[in-house]
C-alpha cells in the first residue's frame, strides 16, 4: 500500500470535512460557495485516488462525474444565484457561529462513535476514514437547519450529499455506476430546481425571502 495513496486519501477526506466546517464558520455566501467548490474537488480527488489504487474504471468515471457536477456545475450555479442576490451574507443564523462550531465539534464526536460501529465490520485504512463522511453529513444537516439564507440551505443540502458520497467511496469504493450516476444527476437536478424556484419567486413575487415564508401553516 503506497503511502502517497493513503496520504492523499486522508488529506482529501479531511478537506471534505474541513470545508464543511468552514461553511459554518464563514458568513459570506460567496465564501460558502467557494468552500463548496473546494469540497467537490476534494471529493473527486478521493474518488480518483481510490480508483487509481484499485483500478476501478467505473470509480474513475464517477470521480470525473463528481468533479464536473459537484466541483464545477453546482458551485457555478450557486454563484450565479448569489450574485443576483443583493443580500449575499448569512446575516443572522438561527444558531450563531461560535455555538455552531461547538455543535459541529459535538456532531463530529457523535459521528466517530457511530462511525466506528460501521467501520468495525471491515477495518482498514480506507474505511476508517468513513466517519469523516458521516460528520460531513451531520454538519451539512446542521447547516441546513440553522442557516436562513436560501443559498446556505442549498449548500447544506449539498454538504449532506457530499458526505454521503464520501462514505460511499470510502466504504464501498463506489456503488454501481448507474446508481452513482443517478444520484449525482439527482443532486444536480435538485439544485437546478431550487435555483429555478428562487428565480421564479423573485420574478413572480415581491418577497424573495424564500426561507422565511410562513404563509402555509396550521
Amino acid at each position: 500500500m503506497s503511502t502517497t495513496y493513503v496520504g492523499v486519501l486522508e488529506l482529501a477526506a479531511g478537506a471534505v470535512l474541513l470545508s464543511a466546517v468552514m461553511t459554518l464558520w464563514r458568513r459570506s455566501v460567496r465564501a460558502i460557495v467557494s468552500m463548496l467548490r473546494l469540497q467537490g474537488v476534494a471529493l473527486s480527488v478521493v474518488a480518483v485516488d481510490l480508483a487509481l489504487h484499485e483500478h476501478e474504471h467505473a470509480l474513475l468515471a464517477t470521480g470525473a462525474l463528481v468533479l464536473v457536477v459537484k466541483g464545477v456545475a453546482i458551485p457555478a450555479l450557486l454563484r450565479r444565484i448569489a450574485q443576483r442576490d443583493p443580500r449575499s451574507r448569512e446575516s443572522r443564523p438561527l444558531v450563531n457561529v461560535p455555538a455552531s462550531l461547538v455543535f459541529a465539534a459535538a456532531l463530529i464526536v457523535l459521528s466517530y462513535v457511530v462511525g466506528t460501529r460501521i467501520t468495525a465490520l471491515a477495518p482498514s485504512v480506507v474505511t476508517n476514514l468513513a466517519p469523516l463522511g458521516l460528520a460531513t453529513v451531520l454538519v451539512g444537516y446542521f447547516m441546513l437547519v440553522t442557516r436562513r439564507h436560501a443559498v446556505s440551505k442549498i449548500v447544506g443540502l449539498i454538504l449532506v450529499d457530499n458526505g454521503i458520497a464520501l462514505m460511499t467511496f470510502l466504504l464501498t469504493s463506489g456503488v454501481p455506476l448507474i446508481v452513482e450516476l443517478g444520484a449525482s444527476l439527482d443532486v444536480l437536478l435538485v439544485v437546478v430546481v431550487l435555483q429555478f424556484l428562487m428565480v421564479s419567486m423573485r420574478h413572480h413575487s415581491a418577497t424573495d425571502r424564500l426561507t422565511e415564508m410562513k404563509a402555509l401553516h396550521d
Binding site: 457511530v114 460501529r117 460501521i118 468495525a120 465490520l121 471491515a122 453529513v137 444537516y141 441546513l144 440551505k153 447544506g156 443540502l157 449532506v160 450529499d161 454521503i164 462514505m167 460511499t168 466504504l171 464501498t172 456503488v175 454501481p176 448507474i178 446508481v179 443517478g182 444520484a183 439527482d186 437536478l189 435538485v190 430546481v193 431550487l194 424556484l197 421564479s200 419567486m201 413572480h204 413575487s205 418577497t207 424564500l210 426561507t211 415564508m213 404563509a215 402555509l216 396550521d218
Partner: protein, 489 residues
C-alpha cells in the same frame, strides 16, 4: 414482456405529450395510457403469481408485490389523469395557467408516473432510490404549477425536506451494500440487485444493517410522510393541483412505503424482527398521534386530507412493523384502498374548492344541498376514509389490528384505535360543517362547469371498486397473499 410494455406505454405517452402543444385530447390520451398501464398491471399480477418476471437483462423485475404496486399506480393515475383535461381547462379559462405550462404539467405528470413505475419495476435497490428521488424533482414543478406564493413556498419546503430525507435513504442503501460486500461465509457477487441482497440478507452484519435500516426508515419515511419528517406533506398537498395531490397522496407515498417494505425484509433477515418492529412502530404511532391532533382543529380542506394521509401512512407503518404475512397482506390492501379513496377525495375536494372558491372548511357550506352528487361522493369517500364497511379500508385496518394483537402489540392497537376514534370525530365535525353546515335550504346550484357524467361515473366507480375490494375475495386475495410472501420470511 409485460414489464417493458408498461414502461413503454408510459414513456410513449410522455413523449407524445412533450412533443405536442397542449390540447385537451392529450389529457385523455394520458388517461388512456394510465388505463393501459392498469390493464397491463392486472395482467402482470396474474403472470407474477407463477413467479417473478424479468426484463432487460434482469435489470427489471416484477414479482407479485411489484405487480400489485403497478395496479395501484395504474388505478390512481387513471383517476388523476382523467381529470387532467378538466383541470387544465379550468385553469386556462381562469387564467391560472397558460398552454405552455399546461404542457409542462402533462409531461411532468407522465414523468412522475413513469418514475413511480420504474421504482416498483426495477430489480435494483439503488435504481429504486434514484426513481423515487426523481419523483421529487418531477413533483416539485407540479406543486409549484399554480405559481402562487403558496405554491412556491410549498414546493421549496417540499424539495428541501424531501431531498435531505431521501439522501439519508441513499446512505442507508450504501450501508446495506457495504455490509453485503463484507458478508462473511458466503462468497458471492455484491450488488444492489434485490434477489442478491435477499440471498445474502441473513449474513449481513447486524450492526451496520441496524444503522442502515434506521437511516432508510428516516429517509424513505420522509417521502412516505411519516413523522417527524412529514412537514412537507400538508403544504405540498394543499398547494398542488387536485390531480397531483391525488397522485402524490394516493401512490407516491405508497411507492416510498414500498421501498421501506423491501428493506424491512432485508433488515428482518439480518437483525431479526425486534429492531425493525420497534422503529417502525415508533414512527407509525408518532405519525398517527400527530395526524390525530392536527386533524382536530384543522381549518383547511386539503390539509385535512393531507393529515389523513399521514394517519394512514402511520397505520401502514404499524402494520409493517408487525410484518407477519397477514399484516403485510392487509397493509397492501390498505395501500390500494387508501390510494383509490384518497384520490377520489382529493379530486372531489378540487372540484369543491373550484366551485366554492375556497378550501377553508368554515367557508364551505351546505355542499349536499348545493351539489348533491359531488357532496355525496365526498361524503361516501369520507366514510371510506374512516374505514367503515363495506369499504376495503375496513377489512385492511381490521386485519392489521388482528395481526398486531397476534404479535402481542395490543397496546399499540389500543392507542391507534383511540386515535382513529378521535380522527373519526374530527372528520365528522368537519364533514358536518362542509356537507350540511350553514343554510339548509340552499337550492342545488347549476354550475357552469358541473362535473361531467363521465368523471362522475369514474369517481363513483372508484368508490364502488373500494366496496367490491372490501367485500369480495376473488379479485385480490391470492395476489395479496403472494405479494406478502415476497417480503416476509
Amino acid at each position: 414482456m409485460l414489464i417493458l410494455a408498461i414502461l413503454v406505454t408510459s414513456l410513449t405517452a410522455t413523449g407524445i405529450a412533450a412533443a405536442l402543444t397542449w390540447r385537451p385530447w392529450i389529457g385523455w390520451m394520458t388517461a388512456a395510457s394510465s388505463a393501459v398501464v392498469l390493464g397491463l398491471g392486472v395482467g402482470l399480477s396474474v403472470t407474477s403469481l407463477s413467479g417473478p418476471q424479468w426484463a432487460l437483462h434482469h435489470s427489471l423485475r416484477a414479482d407479485s408485490l411489484s405487480a400489485f404496486m403497478v395496479v395501484v399506480i395504474g388505478a390512481v393515475s387513471l383517476l388523476a389523469t382523467a381529470f387532467t383535461s378538466r383541470t387544465m381547462h379550468q385553469e386556462l379559462t381562469s387564467g391560472v395557467t397558460t398552454t405552455r405550462y399546461a404542457r409542462h404539467y402533462v409531461v411532468l405528470t407522465q414523468v412522475f408516473i413513469t418514475c413511480m413505475l420504474s421504482a416498483v419495476l426495477t430489480a435494483n435497490l439503488g435504481v429504486l432510490w434514484v426513481s423515487i428521488e426523481a419523483t421529487t424533482i418531477a413533483t416539485t414543478f407540479l406543486v409549484s404549477h399554480r405559481r402562487t406564493d403558496g405554491a412556491f413556498e410549498a414546493s421549496w419546503k417540499y424539495v428541501i425536506l424531501c431531498s435531505v430525507g431521501i439522501a439519508l435513504a441513499f446512505l442507508g442503501t450504501v450501508l446495506i451494500y457495504y455490509a453485503q460486500l463484507h458478508t462473511s461465509g458466503v462468497a458471492h457477487h455484491a450488488s444492489l440487485d434485490w434477489t442478491t441482497v435477499m440471498s445474502a440478507a441473513h449474513h449481513l452484519d447486524p450492526r451496520v444493517t441496524r444503522i442502515a435500516f434506521a437511516l432508510l426508515v428516516v429517509g424513505y419515511g420522509t417521502k412516505v410522510g411519516l413523522a417527524p419528517l412529514h412537514s412537507w406533506l400538508p403544504d405540498a398537498h394543499s398547494q398542488a393541483p387536485a390531480p397531483v395531490s391525488a397522485l402524490m397522496s394516493g401512490v407516491l407515498l405508497s411507492v416510498a412505503f414500498y421501498g421501506l417494505l423491501r428493506f424491512r425484509a432485508v433488515a428482518v433477515a439480518a437483525l431479526g424482527p425486534a429492531f425493525p418492529r420497534a422503529l417502525l412502530l415508533v414512527v407509525g404511532l408518532v405519525s398517527l398521534l400527530l395526524a390525530t391532533v392536527m386533524l382536530i382543529a384543522q381549518r383547511d380542506l386539503k390539509r385535512m386530507l393531507a393529515y389523513s394521509s399521514i394517519e394512514h401512512m402511520g397505520l401502514l407503518a404499524i402494520g409493517a412493523a408487525v410484518g407477519t404475512p397477514l399484516a403485510i397482506a392487509a397493509v397492501l390492501l390498505h395501500i390500494l384502498g387508501h390510494g383509490v379513496t384518497k384520490s377520489v377525495m382529493f379530486l372531489s375536494a378540487g372540484e369543491i374548492s373550484h366551485a366554492q372558491g375556497t378550501t377553508e372548511i368554515s367557508r364551505i357550506t351546505a355542499l349536499l344541498a348545493r351539489q348533491p352528487t359531488l357532496g355525496g361522493i365526498f361524503g361516501f369517500g369520507l366514510l371510506s376514509l374512516v374505514a367503515l364497511p363495506p369499504f376495503s379500508l375496513f377489512v385492511s385496518e381490521l386485519n392489521m389490528a388482528r395481526a398486531e394483537v397476534d404479535a402481542g402489540l395490543w397496546w399499540a392497537v389500543a392507542i391507534s384505535l383511540v386515535c382513529l376514534a378521535v380522527i373519526f370525530a374530527a372528520l365528522a365535525r368537519h364533514a358536518r360543517q362542509m356537507l350540511l353546515g350553514g343554510a339548509a335550504d340552499v337550492p342545488p346550484t347549476a354550475l357552469p362547469t358541473a362535473l361531467p357524467a363521465s368523471l362522475t361515473t369514474l369517481l363513483v366507480g372508484a368508490l364502488v371498486a373500494c366496496v367490491v375490494l372490501g367485500l369480495l375475495t376473488w379479485p385480490l386475495q391470492s395476489l395479496l397473499v403472494h405479494a406478502a410472501q415476497t417480503v416476509t420470511p
